[in-house]
């Protein structure tokens, strides 16, 4: 979705400021990544680079297979789910949509434990099977299958949420035309839905690949041993155990290189979004067979995705929750997490708008790549390298890590969710520039008027999704906090890991459940709220 051939008769409004702003943000992110790596190299200068113990190519191949499978499966399942959800109306649909969206921002470990609570040896399914049939029903959850299952839960539900937003924004006119032409369910999908989806799929694919490629705790938790590993694990070991900073940077560069290649490849395949709209779609039911298929997909989706999250809620909501809620540390952590979440949500939205509008204002493929790619590349920087580099940068700048910590965490979390925000916002922004460029020019609208009168009303719903995404990412991510922490700066996930590390698994379960509740609430409420705001303005 970054490199895209645009039609030759394209008329784009002249927006040098937007181009400049987009390019400046992109350059700043690229510079930040470079500075982080350079800071580590400068510290490592003079230290002999040790003989690497890592078989890099073996790891790269293993990781690529895992990430590739995760990406394909997630996109297939995500598309099917979005299709079903777009067609079906039922009570509690908003909640299901919110639940799906919240999977990706829930800390991976929680999801993995939820998966085990349902499918594991002591899980619901196995216990039910034992009670009913006397025979165990064990699913081989440890190994590649388990890693894929957990990744697909996280990523396919996220893909479904993003794709659903695209399907929901198909303009009324197109639907009405399609309906009057009497398109069948399959034709409707290929003619009306597919042009909408395929603009988003490459960006999503890049993100999911990156997430799976850099995955760490899930891979170790469900991997079943050192046979299943990722580069990220090797990088962590190089920093932490070997303190081989040169080696760590080299491995990090391999990871960033591979991920960048994937990002660029994905960009090459992405056409510009066909159209966008924001109205309530007319009721248009597919035929009986298609509807049955939709219900089946939805049922599988709910069993597969909602049950593990439900297990987390059931596990956590009990008398222990009152104990947790009665502690001052919980409220302090909650306050910090909410403030961080709100701050980075706004930061992400602003950055995504800056980059998205800058890209949309340019007709040149290379410039569009240059503006879009750094945001994705950031996702490929290993967390431990990021944490280390940021720590060194702050120190080199003469700042106290504890004082700078919150600002760094805010920035890091904001950047972390930027690719997700771009995947959500860039296609509609491109589509607007493409479809309404001529109109905007002929009306002689200025940049600000263009934004307020044309763009903002059309992207309101997506902006809400972006806010919710980034808010929850911040809420659930430990990010770069590792080296900055003091006992006074605590977030909810940190509190959860602390409880886990102190035998207090009930407390950890309660905190996990509360985080999930906040996340789901954010995903149900924020898009609606922002949608209302934009409607009021338009």
């Amino acid at each position: 979705m970054l490199l895209s051939p645009r039609s030759s008769n394209l008329v784009l409004p002249h927006r040098p400021l937007r181009l400049l702003a987009g390019a400046a943000i992109a350059a700043a992110i690229a510079a930040l990544v470079a500075l982080v790596l350079l800071a580590i190299l400068a510290t490592a200068a003079g230290e002999p680079s040790r003989q690497s113990r890592v078989d890099v190519w073996h790891l790269v191949v293993m990781t690529s297979i895992q990430a590739g499978l995760t990406t394909i499966l997630s996109l297939l399942v995500g598309t099917a789910l979005a299709w079903a959800l777009n067609r079906l109306r039922f009570p509690g649909r908003d909640l299901v949509v919110g639940l799906f969206a919240s999977a990706i921002v829930t800390p991976g470990l929680i999801v993995a434990f939820g998966l085990l609570a349902v499918w594991g040896r002591a899980g619901w399914i196995n216990q039910a099977a034992l009670a009913l049939t006397g025979h165990p029903f064990e699913v081989p959850l440890f190994g590649l299958a388990g890693i894929l299952a957990a990744h697909v839960i996280l990523d396919a539900s996220f893909a479904a949420r993003i794709l659903l937003a695209r399907l929901d924004s198909i303009p009324e006119k197109r639907l009405k035309t399609g309906q009057s032409l009497g398109l069948g369910a399959w034709q409707r999908f290929t003619v009306i839905d597919w042009p909408m989806l395929r603009t988003t799929l490459p960006g999503l694919a890049a993100i999911i690949f990156l997430l799976a490629f850099t995955s760490f705790p899930i891979v170790l938790l469900l991997g079943g041993g050192p046979a299943n590993q990722t580069l990220e694990v090797a990088i962590y070991a190089a920093v932490r155990l070997d303190f081989d900073l040169n080696g760590a940077v080299t491995l990090a560069l391999v990871q960033i290189g591979i991920c960048s290649a994937v990002i660029l490849a994905a960009s090459a395949f992405a056409p510009i979004s066909a159209s966008t709209g924001g109205s309530t779609p007319p009721r248009w039911r597919d035929g009986a067979v298609a509807r049955i298929a939709q219900w089946v997909v939805l049922a599988f989706g709910i069993v597969g995705f909602a049950l593990p999250l439900l297990a987390i809620l059931i596990d956590g909501i009990g008398p222990g929750i009152l104990d947790v809620a009665s502690r001052e540390s919980f409220w302090k952590a909650l306050g910090t997490s909410l403030a961080l979440g709100s701050g980075s949500a706004i930061l992400t939205l602003l950055l995504a708008l800056g980059i998205g509008m800058g890209r949309a204002a340019s007709g040149r493929p290379l410039l569009r790549i240059g503006i879009g790619a750094p945001a994705y590349a950031y996702l490929a920087v290993p967390a431990v390298v990021l944490s280390l580099g940021a720590f060194l940068l702050v120190r080199n700048a003469g700042l106290l890590p504890e004082t700078a910590g919150p600002v760094v965490v805010l920035l890091a979390n904001g950047l972390l969710s930027l690719p997700f925000a771009l995947a959500t916002l860039a296609p509609p922004l491109d589509a607007i520039a493409e479809r309404r460029g001529r109109l905007i020019r002929s009306l002689g609208l200025g940049g600000w008027r263009q934004f307020m009168a044309v763009e903002w009303p059309l992207i309101g719903r997506e902006a809400g999704v972006v806010l919710a995404l980034s808010f929850c990412f911040s809420l659930g991510d430990l990010g770069v906090i590792a080296l900055f922490g003091t006992e006074d700066f605590t977030t909810l996930p940190l509190l959860m890991y602390r409880a886990l590390g102190a035998y207090r698994s009930n407390d950890a379960a309660a905190i996990a459940a509360l985080m999930l509740v906040i996340t789901i609430a954010a995903f149900v409420l924020l898009p609606k709220l922002v949608g209302k705001l934009t409607d009021a303005r338009s």
Binding site: T43, R53, F113, A117, G120, R121, F142, F216, P217, L220, L221, L222, G223, G224, G225, P226, A227, V233, Y236, A237, R240, L241, D242, F243, R327, S329, K332, G335, T336, A339, L340, S342, G343, I346, L347, L388, F391, L392, R395, E402, T403, G405, P406, V407, L410, A482, L483, G485, T486, E487, D488, Y497, R498, L500, G501, A502, Y503, R504, S505, A508
Partner: protein, 330 residues
């Protein structure tokens, strides 16, 4: 929206700026691992106890785990604000010593319950790596690595990755100390029993408590937590006949410390009965001096057969041992 952003930012900055206020008293800066300073850990009580007499303020700065604390000091070098590092252990103290950043503690450590002659590091608690099991579900646990290997493959254990976890590394040392050259063979034998190898102790122990595995690599002191804090005595550690490898947690004074006297005083305080009584039920490890009845009976007696780890040998071969174990498990 903009005012909200400002408010959020202000809230974040305020939340971190406040603790810097306490002025006139000197501050003793201690780097430690997160769970040591956490509200359930020994940190708060030790801080309160020491501050009663020192006329100072104790400030903890935390890292994820012990080794990250050492890395942080290494990165900061001479400009570190840390006076003390609390929480290094058997596996990391050799490396820490080799950095040349630590100063002699100058204390005469007498009456310790473990043999100790270290000039730089002061021990404050210890434990032994062990496999913990549920007595109700596993009435007859294996009593050696070889017995464990001989069990059917459906008997599962969870262990930790030696590259990212202290007990994980401890496990490698344990097999090495017990079997030497036969270590890779033992690892190969364990392979079918290993359900998974997690990043850290928390995940492994969580899997075990959830009933996903029959045993987990933890500490001999873990059953005491369940007995004391949860009144639940169904957990025990498997009494392996090979003997056990200790993890001794230590504290050290940095050469660059600004508060040398306060730092030494804190090290001395760590081994007083008052401080040692705090440790067992907050850090869930054995105290390094005899604290009599203050040690809950659930801790039992530490295992008698101890497999010593030689610091020099560990420094020379630790990496190779880890690689060999991982290779055997591939």
């Amino acid at each position: 929206m903009r005012t909200f952003a400002r408010f959020a930012l202000a809230a974040v900055i305020c939340a971190t700026a406040l603790p810097v206020l306490a002025e006139d008293k000197p501050t003793l800066n201690i780097y430690t691992y997160d769970s040591f300073a956490a509200e359930w850990g020994p940190g708060p009580a030790l801080k309160a106890g020491f501050e009663k007499t020192c006329g100072c303020t104790v400030q903890f700065t935390t890292s994820e785990d012990a080794i990250s604390t050492l890395r942080k000091v290494q990165l900061e070098g001479a400009s570190t604000k840390a006076d003390l590092v609390v929480g290094l252990d058997t596996a990391t103290s050799g490396e820490a010593r080799a950095t040349g950043l630590f100063a002699p503690h100058g204390l005469t450590l007498e009456g310790l319950s473990l043999p100790w002659s270290d000039a730089e590091f002061v021990p404050f608690d210890y434990g032994y790596f062990a496999f913990v099991y549920n007595k109700e579900k596993t009435p007859n646990p294996p009593t050696s690595f070889e017995e464990l290997i001989a069990l059917p493959a459906s008997f599962k254990i969870v262990i930790e990755d030696p590259r990212s976890s202290t007990p994980g590394l401890g496990n490698v040392l344990w097999v090495e100390a017990a079997y030497g050259d036969r270590a890779p063979e033992i690892w190969k034998g364990l392979k079918p029993h290993i359900l998974t190898m997690t990043r850290g102790w928390s995940e492994a122990y969580g899997l075990f408590l959830d009933g996903q595995a029959d045993m987990v690599l933890s500490y001999t002191t873990s059953p005491a937590y369940h007995a004391v804090a949860e009144n639940d005595d169904k957990y025990a550690y498997a009494p392996f006949t090979e003997g056990f490898v200790p993890q001794v947690e230590v504290a050290g004074l940095l050469k660059t410390a600004k508060q040398v006297e306060l730092g030494k005083a804190f090290l001395a305080y760590l081994v007083t009965p008052e401080a040692q009584k705090v440790i067992p039920t907050t850090n869930w490890m054995y105290p390094v001096i005899d604290i009599g009845d203050a040690l809950p009976a659930a801790f039992g007696k530490p295992p008698e057969k101890v497999l010593p780890i030689d610091e020099a040998e560990l420094a020379a071969n630790g990496r190779a041992w880890v690689d060999a174990a991982l290779a055997a498990l591939q």
